[in-house]
Symmetry: none
Amino acid sequence: MYKILVVEDNLYIQNLVMEFLESQHYHVEVANDGEECLKKYQNNNFDLIILDIMLPKMDGFQICQMIRKKSSIPIILLTALGDEFDQLRGFELGIDDYITKPFSFNILVNRVKAVLRRTYQEDTKKMVFEDLNIDVDAHKIYIDNVEIELTTKEFELIILLVKNQDKVVTRRDILQQLWEYDYHGDTRVIDTHIKNIRKKIDRPYIKTVKGVGYILEK
Amino acid sequence: MYKILVVEDNLYIQNLVMEFLESQHYHVEVANDGEECLKKYQNNNFDLIILDIMLPKMDGFQICQMIRKKSSIPIILLTALGDEFDQLRGFELGIDDYITKPFSFNILVNRVKAVLRRTYQEDTKKMVFEDLNIDVDAHKIYIDNVEIELTTKEFELIILLVKNQDKVVTRRDILQQLWEYDYHGDTRVIDTHIKNIRKKIDRPYIKTVKGVGYILEK
DNA sequence: CTTAATTTTAAGAGAATGTTGAAGACACAG
DNA sequence: CTGTGTCTTCAACATTCTCTTAAAATTAAG
């Protein structure tokens, strides 16, 4: 499920946007100003930020600049009709899209979907790798059509591997995708889950790439 | 596709409501005042009217009265928190439901669905999952042709599960569909109803997908 | 072959989540 | 107004999942 951070000081709009997005099954968090935004941003890993330009303390551009120093997470800017908004400046700052207020539900959702699709390829409902079949909706996985019971974390992890079946998924990637934030210290959670999955699934083989991560092999 | 007429002079709300409803695949037309409303009403055939009380020229009650002289089309009234709204008077006039502003997306959509269902019996008449048969109209369910008594909530819940028989129904989905809550706090209502259903029905099995929701299994 | 780095593994503590019965709140019919 | 059934809340309990730890195994490099 995609995690979106909405930064907006107007509580009414904040709430509306949140409801919109949640009804479409996004996970949403909100921040009221730049400070809160950066704080939340650092402690979570979001897939998208929706950022109002006019904010107390720090404006959207500034926030954007600070975030861009560290990451290329997609950002959609909210601009009011009166705001002087230089489109060029926006895109120079690495804005992925912008929406002019007042905006409509459809526009918002479409833009969000588009940006997410562009950035990550949006989830398909079924996934396949060799004899492994995943029915994402039903939360079920099959090997040779035999159902295998996995826990949520295991399920998410195998999905991540299948999604990236042609490349090594680094430990860092895994931590970022499945957990809130980087455990800088070392932790063996991933290994443990990998072990548990291997116990349940022997094929496709989860190959270890030492010092890097994991990748699926036939 | 259902056609809905939204009568509201505040352009912002008008637009919002329109967007909400269109996102749910209703066909929507808008009118800004009573006159326009009556005119549009006569020239189209709508399935539902959503009517603001406070309108220029003619208020919602008056409009309602005029429409009721000719037709029994369902009407949902929009009232603001401050408005003195006499519920009784409303229902005497043949109001089908009313919503107090500010309202949320879910409330609006749920009310609309409910009214339409009540009026036009939107649901399919029969549903099946394995040995489970549901006669939606008669509000009865059968297992191996033996009738099982369920309460309303239990009935709605099992319908939801059968309707989505191939996918996990999340707690969030359930809350949104059967209640008008937004999923923020934590409540155990769902679990309790599931428990009660399980007591009455053992097959099909309601499987728990921990951390996600429920799904039917044979 | 030895050493250092890294991963695997099992076991169990700790956290999260779900289940249940009981009781209170509520709604409706009589 | 009262009684009956239904819905919701609560809290104790049960279960499952996740994460930590530490020792063992594996790998890469000198």
